[in-house]
Amino acid sequence: MGLSTVTMIYAGMFYIAALVLAIGLVYKIVDYSRTPAPLKIPTTPAPTTRSGVIYRMAKEVVVFESLFKANKWIWVFGWLFHFGLLLVLLRHLRYFTEPVWFWVDIIQPFGKYASFMMVIGMLGLLARRFLVDRVRYISTPSDYLMLVLLIAIGVTGMLMTFVVHTDIVALKMFFMGLMYFDVQPVPGDPILLIHLALVAFLMLIFPISKLLHAPGLFFSPTRNQVDNPRESRHIAAWAAKLDQTK
């Protein structure tokens, strides 16, 4: 059985997008980790132990502690979006696993409605870009487009979940086929095709966009350094060479 042109395009698109995302992120992460942090610059008060730093980072990642201190509106919208996105992504694991993991089944109903959190959060963030003069001033075209892209992904997904169901069994076969290098036909539903194309596009631009804030946070010296400069000598390789000069 021959595969349709649309299937070939989508299969190729997802292979390329996955490759770009993986290689791009690995490249960035390796680059960040190889770049030295020559000075101790944690924003203090900072933890004095490694485990304290893990706790600090966990609070940043899970509850956006610094953002909470900064601005409650951005925090509410930002957290709704990210936590909604997390649930939605986890729910989507059901299209990539057979049998479906039990905990993915448990969060399925939450994941469906989390899409509302996600889209409401993004609409709030988008509204701020128009309404708050300070945020409007700093916004670039890509800042708006990124939100529009994510909202479009969310809305097309919600349409399929709540309004016009797509052939989810065939879709799962398509993705399982991609994973086992046995390409199966992609369903021809236009909303699904739009949804998938936008997701592939998002994967493509992830490593070259501000979405790098995700790995970046873990490498931020002001957040991930232990506050112990008097107790242990912190020195970068390029700086240690200076010790020999005098």
């Binding site: 960040y32 956006f64 610094s66 002001t222 008097r230 000598r233 700086a239």
Partner: protein, 510 residues
């Protein structure tokens, strides 16, 4: 040049977030460094022909050496959390004084030359070719940042605009656009030993004069020793402490503490400056050279402890960087630091802040104080930015807030903190830190002090506060100059050890 004319902002009941007014601070240009100053620092003094290549090369060099710069330039999502956090934005309403916009002055260039998106779609992601106009913007607005790190507290990724300002100034230096104030000071400290350019004999005279004053005042022969080999403690303090008011009152305070506790101590001519303006310019090598004076003096004098006087950025460099730069601290496992660390007394933190030292002495009963001698004062405390957000005192996180307050409360009876959100980690910079304590930036300094002046005004009205204590030479110089513009008396400003000095009992404890 005539004094710049500008309106002093009006203090409101609360700190207000202004509507942005584009370009209102674009006219403020700090004086450029002259040829002799730049020559000494090894920088060009005018824009070289290949300025663009030099600037981009330097940016690439810094991106390879500093993870902070690389991550911070990538990670920003323009969320806006920092937009209302900078005292210069709050005081000037110029949008380029919003932390993210200040960063974007460099980020637009970074994106154009170092990122795929910026090379392919510059308009889309706000990437721009480096032009002389952009360099001009850098020069203006990287000298309207005091590197106070308040924005870094609130950024969800911990982006610290100070790191970008420092890199920006370093790049500017490499294309001949140095700042007169900071670079001149960096020359003086390396040639003479302190930022004020005070030579050894003058320092000796000053200290003798102070000894006479103290004896006349108290009847006790309190000494201010200089270059004494074999002393236990080397005190490194900002040179302003030697003859600026109110700084000198704190110096007298330190001397009385050492005297009352019976600790042998000395100052050093070669290291007669705790300040290290190398921090402000993002040049590791310069900062290290300036810091090495302390190590060299400590080794030469054979001291066992190094104590740092009241200076904010100096304490950041001392606490956070001295171990890295010079091996002054603990835990070194290389010959360079082991050799030095053997000399230091392991019973004390190295380096130690004067507030840690004095507070410990009072708590352990080794010196006695009478807080009622400060009963004419109602005191508040200004957390200096570099102490608050870039260092620590004591063993617990937040000791940099607790210890100075504990010390103040032990020497005064009337103390009131300013409002939450203006102290501790959220403290507002005095407006003069980070290399902008110069008269050519007076407008920036006055306007940048508005948030602090507002918070101060509220405790003055509510609690009749008449003294704002602090532990930073720049804060003291800045506030005595700018607070009078807001109607406060400059005698309200003083050091924590000025209070200690008044309350301390100079006769030996039992």
């Amino acid at each position: 040049m005539a004094a710049p004319v500008f309106d002093v902002p009006e203090i409101k009941d609360e700190i207000e977030i202004p509507k942005l007014r584009e370009g209102v601070m674009a006219h403020v240009k700090t004086f450029p460094a002259t040829q002799p100053i730049q020559d000494f620092m090894g920088y060009p003094h005018e824009l070289p022909e290949d300025w663009k290549e030099r600037a981009i090369d330097k940016m690439g060099d810094l991106l390879g050496k500093y993870r902070s710069l690389k991550v911070f330039l990538d990670a920003c999502v323009h969320c806006g959390a920092c937009t209302d956090k900078c005292h210069y934005y709050l005081g000037t309403s110029d949008p380029k004084n919003m932390p993210v916009a200040r960063q974007d002055l460099m980020r637009q260039v970074y994106r154009r030359y170092f990122t795929t998106a910026g090379k392919l779609f510059p308009k889309l992601v706000g990437a721009k070719d480096l032009t002389q106009d952009i360099l001009g913007d850098w020069y203006n607005y990287y000298h309207q940042c005091s590197e106070c790190r308040r924005c870094s507290v609130y950024c969800p990724y911990g982006i610290d605009t100070a790191e970008i300002t420092m890199a920006g100034r370093e790049i500017l230096n490499h294309v001949g656009m140095g700042q007169k104030y900071s670079n001149e000071i960096l020359g003086k400290v390396q040639k003479i030993g302190n930022n004020l350019g005070l030579p050894g004999p003058a320092l000796e005279d000053t200290l003798e004069g102070l000894e006479e004053d103290i004896e006349a005042d108290t009847g006790v022969a309190v000494k201010l020793p200089l270059d004494v080999k074999g002393a236990e403690v080397l005190l490194v303090t900002p040179s302003a402490d030697f003859f600026s008011e109110p700084h000198v009152e704190s110096l007298i305070g330190y001397a009385k503490v050492f005297h009352a506790a019976g600790i042998s101590w000395t100052l050093s001519t070669h290291a007669s400056e705790a300040g290290n303006f190398g921090l402000f310019n993002g040049n590791y090598d310069t900062m290290r050279k300036v810091a090495m004076r302390i190590r060299d003096s400590a080794i030469e004098l054979g001291v066992k402890r190094i104590v740092v006087g009241e200076c904010g950025h100096a304490w950041r460099v001392a606490y956070s960087f001295w171990n890295t730069l010079t091996g002054l601290g603990y835990g070194g496992n290389d010959p360079f630091s082991i050799e030095f660390q053997k000399q230091l007394d392991p019973n004390y933190p190295q380096p130690q802040h004067i507030c840690e030292l004095t507070n410990d002495l009072i708590k352990s009963g080794k010196i006695r104080v009478d807080p009622s001698l400060n009963d004419d004062l109602v005191v508040t405390y200004h957390d200096s930015c570099n102490v608050a957000r870039a260092s620590r005192m004591g063993t617990e996180p937040g000791g940099q807030f607790a210890i100075p307050r504990e010390l103040i409360r032990s020497v005064v009876n009337n103390f009131h903190d300013m409002a939450d959100g203006t102290i501790g980690e959220a403290t507002f910079c005095c407006g003069g830190g980070g290399g902008i304590l110069t008269d050519d930036l007076l407008e920036v300094r006055v306007k940048g002090a508005l948030p602090r002046a507002t918070a101060l005004n509220n405790v003055v009205k509510e609690h009749k506060v008449n003294f704002m204590a602090m532990i930073c030479a720049i804060c003291k110089a800045q506030f005595t100059k700018v607070l009078p513009k807001y109607g406060f008396d400059m005698s309200m400003v003083g050091g924590v050890h000025q209070l200690v000095s008044k309350a301390i009992k100079l006769d030996k404890a039992e």
